[in-house]
Symmetry: C2
Subunit: 303 residues, 2 copies
């Protein structure tokens, strides 16, 4: 058993844990649906259950990031304000009072104006900067709440959140558009309606004026649910990129897309349509690299 | 009893009926929650119940508009395509097979590109053009699905739908923003946070990049629910006006705002911030004036 520490990505709805060795290699992985919302009052027990399933020795230190550090989490890890070096999320980690082992929770980042916060993505960013070319980049982390962050070396200059994934879900399930969308199958990649919608909205960014057209297209032309959903996805992702391009217009930096699977394919198509240069990184690798960097910062805790 | 006809505004969730005389004056009014969705298979019975409560004589003709003419309504009244004269919604009204009296349902309007539809608002527009100065106007009809229509005399040149009211509802109740919004009281008018949000988004129209800031403002600055809701309202109405201004940019026409109560106050404040000239009209008067014009078109049916 060469375990040196455990790395934990503890979000709102899920928790993922990795048993790691001193070189940052994964020895074992576990996940469960015991996210922050469900884990209220049971954080220590859930953690110990997973560690015990790993066969983790007593005293093995744990480094965690994500909503576990929110006010409603296990212990609040107060936000670090940007601009900041990403080292600050290591030095300002909060230690949990837990008798079995050291548990450190990394803080999120906050921005005063425009007001914004992140929890979890800062650890991915910390992992990414280790592998980045020296210089500047604009990281794009798609998701329920997509994050864009402007990086300069290992500094975060500023960031922005877009409700892209959440808007897709509530419009698909709760709005008048559900009549045209609810039967759609999950997208497998960027279809022609996705590209067309994306190209269209990249002209002017007008999302609100195009949403009802999805319902009208269903009524007037019998557009099928898959094509309607692809159009909504193209509009939302296109509007996100349109807005991010405006927000970070001065930066002129290449985009580092942190996504996998279908999401990666959709964003790559959209970034191409927007004429933006981009490279790709893996989100899972990034969060583990960030937690490994946190662990190295606290090497004196390793067993 | 000087009743000449009954006018009915039959929407998705509500029905409103007026007993009218030959001069278009209201003799009596009724309303109920038997909208198109609930009235499936019972349209005739619901109508006759209301008319019987009015003491309406057999044979009294009925002129109806709204979702009652949708495919899922009583009888489908196929859309009239724009550009069109508003007279066409009278001549293309569909007569229901109903043995008690003549019942005519006015059609909605459709637009091929961008795809769009309306049902009910076209009758308000027909009522409005009767009272308009000759010339051109841009009508703004706020609501769950706000409509903007470009008028030229009694012609509808084109129109656009914005999901403003529906986005407010689903974001307030279903999204991450609910944590910051759910305790808000209904707005009584344009507060300072409403105006600030509206002025801000009128600069660039970027809605998606500002939504999460409502949650972040609650977390970082403890913004209260009423101010957060006012901000969301200001962002949504501002984004609607930003987009409408772009869409109808060439028209350079004064805006005719068709709204009442708080909605009127909010839109007036937003239109002022956008630097748009506007006048005001009453939505209830407009729909009755439109149905009265329909009734005059079919004067041979009056008893």
């Amino acid at each position: 058993m060469s375990a040196a520490f455990a790395a934990v990505d503890w979000g709102s709805s899920h928790v993922r844990l990795w048993l790691m060795d001193a070189q940052g290699e994964v020895l074992a992985e576990r996940r469960s649906a015991d996210g922050m919302l469900k884990a209220q009052g049971k954080f220590a027990a859930i953690l110990e259950d997973h560690l015990s399933a790993f066969g983790a020795p007593e005293g093995l230190p744990v480094f965690a990031c994500g909503m576990v550090g929110a006010r409603q989490g296990w212990v609040e890890a107060p936000y670090v304000a940007v601009p900041t070096s990403l080292d600050a999320i290591f030095s300002q980690a909060v230690r949990v009072a837990h008798d079995k082992r050291p548990v450190l929770i990394l803080p999120g980042l906050s921005q005063g104006s425009p007001a914004d916060v992140m929890r979890g993505e800062e650890t991915q960013l910390a992992g990414l900067v280790e592998t980045l070319q020296p210089g500047a980049a604009l990281a794009c982390l798609p998701g329920t709440h997509s994050k864009w962050a402007e990086l300069d070396g290992e500094r975060v200059v500023g960031f922005a959140t877009f409700l892209t994934g959440e808007l897709f879900a509530v419009l698909r399930e709760q709005s008048i558009l559900r009549h045209s969308l609810i039967d759609a199958e999950p997208a497998s990649g960027p279809s022609e309606p996705f590209r067309a919608a994306c190209a269209e909205i990249l002209q002017d960014g007008d999302l609100q004026g195009r949403l009802f057209g999805i319902r009208a297209g269903g009524l007037l032309s019998g557009t099928n649910a898959n094509d309607s959903a692809a159009r909504l996805s193209g509009l939302l992702i296109g509007a996100e990129i349109f807005a991010a391009r405006q927000r970070f217009a001065g930066s002129n930096k290449p985009v580092l897309l942190v996504a996998s699977g279908t999401m990666r394919a959709l964003y790559e198509a959209a970034l191409e349509l927007a004429g933006l240069q981009f490279t790709h990184a893996d989100a899972d690798l990034a969060v583990r690299a960030g937690l490994y960097a946190a662990a190295r910062h606290y090497r004196e805790l390793w067993i």
